[in-house]
Symmetry: C2
DNA sequence: GGAAATTTGTACGTATGTATT
DNA sequence: CAATACATACGTACAAATTTC
């Protein structure tokens, strides 16, 4: 029943062009795109056609328009916004379980594929987090903890895995930052040090075991806190969402 | 500080309404939605406003319009189409690695949470696949194999996990069906039988081990076939990295 | 407060593809 | 096959709301 249209509609062509301008970096995230009259001239289309294209990308989460001001790039990929919207309908536990699945895979792949630069990057992140611990700065520690995990994912050499983790990780970041206030930092730091060592020795099984260890600690925290709800607490502030994601 | 922009744009309101009609099942997948004039009347908006809303949902993959015919519902969720589009840019190996990450998690969770109905369903799927093997029907076996895995995911009780698997699984289905022609079925069937047994005994570690076993067989097949991966050239890099192990 | 810039919403006309008579 | 009706595609023009300076 489904037939493939040989020719894309004009609106889709325009949307494709704009999308490629965004993904290529010509229109960076946060930048203001040209006004309607100018784009009409450059793309040689009518206002209605241009508006439908922009509306499509706005709905997809790539653009944000502010009446009386202009239209701004809010994301470089359509996957992020959609995934985040879906995650809002899930409970914290569901989201964390998916995140953990990705973390175990990344640790395993990292142990196989990491190079010296990767190891150096991970070690640097751990050093910085150690400094943050000694200074007692929870926020700073959380930031370097995230960087550490992202370094592991980067060394997995799997772009899809990296991207999925980024979006899911963003959505559960608040709850994890909150957790850092109740759980002793050094426990995670010791674990992460062993995780790095396993990756350095290319011991996939040990790396996965280390990931599972801090996952268990995270889950213990959830049980103690008796958190059962969804993401709603952090979902209502979507209105004052900045231009940048 | 009265900051909140109280109202969504008219177009977004219309899009929301249509989206909820789709996700609620009032407009099932494959059905034809009312024509523009009728929707204009029902929603009390102008034609352009309605068209922008429909265009947004069309771009998101929820609707498909055919000039001269009408507009049809093509998906009940926005996540599926976007994820599939993203996967097209990845290599087969990348996609399979993510899929495997989800499968391991699902097997582990299933071992913890499955009930008797779940076990019954899984056992039934295995029986049917056994029948397909004896009849020598590869397509039929592939279908029941998919059903078996979906039964495992269903018993993970994690809606996000289930949804992600569905979309990713769809995208790699062709390559897996192809693989069934070269790999002895009974090897997978024996493995799956043990996997079911592990889930029945609520032995998470054994369940994960069984998943990893058939993953290894799948990867062996890829090495032998010298498949360079996906629709993109860069997929070859990931494959070569995988070869090194 | 006012003027300019920008997006929003509406109305109408024409063209083109599809199905039906 | 031709004619007709219907549905979507694309274009122009005008008025309104919002933000910035």
């Amino acid at each position: 029943m489904l037939k493939q249209t040989k020719r894309l509609s004009l609106v889709e062509q325009v949307a494709e062009q704009i999308e490629s301008l965004i993904s290529s970096g010509n229109w960076p995230v946060g930048s203001k795109i040209p006004a309607e009259p100018e784009l009409m001239e450059q793309l040689q289309v009518s206002r209605n056609t241009l508006r439908e294209a922009i509306r499509a990308l706005t709905h997809a989460g790539l653009l944000k328009t502010r009446q009386g001001d202009g239209t701004y790039v809010s994301s470089s990929s359509a996957l992020g916004p959609v995934l985040k919207k879906r995650i809002l309908r899930s409970g914290w536990l569901e989201t964390l379980e998916v995140r953990h699945a990705l973390e175990k895979e990344a640790a395993s792949l990292s142990a196989e594929r990491r190079d010296e630069d990767d190891l150096e990057r991970m070690a640097y992140c751990l050093e910085q987090s150690k400094i943050a611990i000694l200074a007692g700065e929870a926020d700073l520690y959380a930031r370097w903890d995230v960087e550490f995990h992202q370094a592991i994912f980067a060394s997995s050499r799997n772009g899809l895995l990296i991207e999925l983790y980024d979006y899911i990780s963003d959505s559960v970041q608040p709850i994890l930052v909150d957790m850092f206030h109740d759980v002793p930092f050094h426990s995670f730091h010791d674990n992460h040090t062993q995780l790095l060592e396993a990756i350095r020795k290319q011991d996939s099984e040990m790396a996965v075991e280390m990931v599972q260890q801090y996952i268990r600690e995270t889950q213990e925290h959830f049980k103690n806190q008796n958190i059962t709800g969804g993401h709603k607490q952090h979902g209502e502030d979507e209105f004052l969402n900045q231009i940048r994601t």
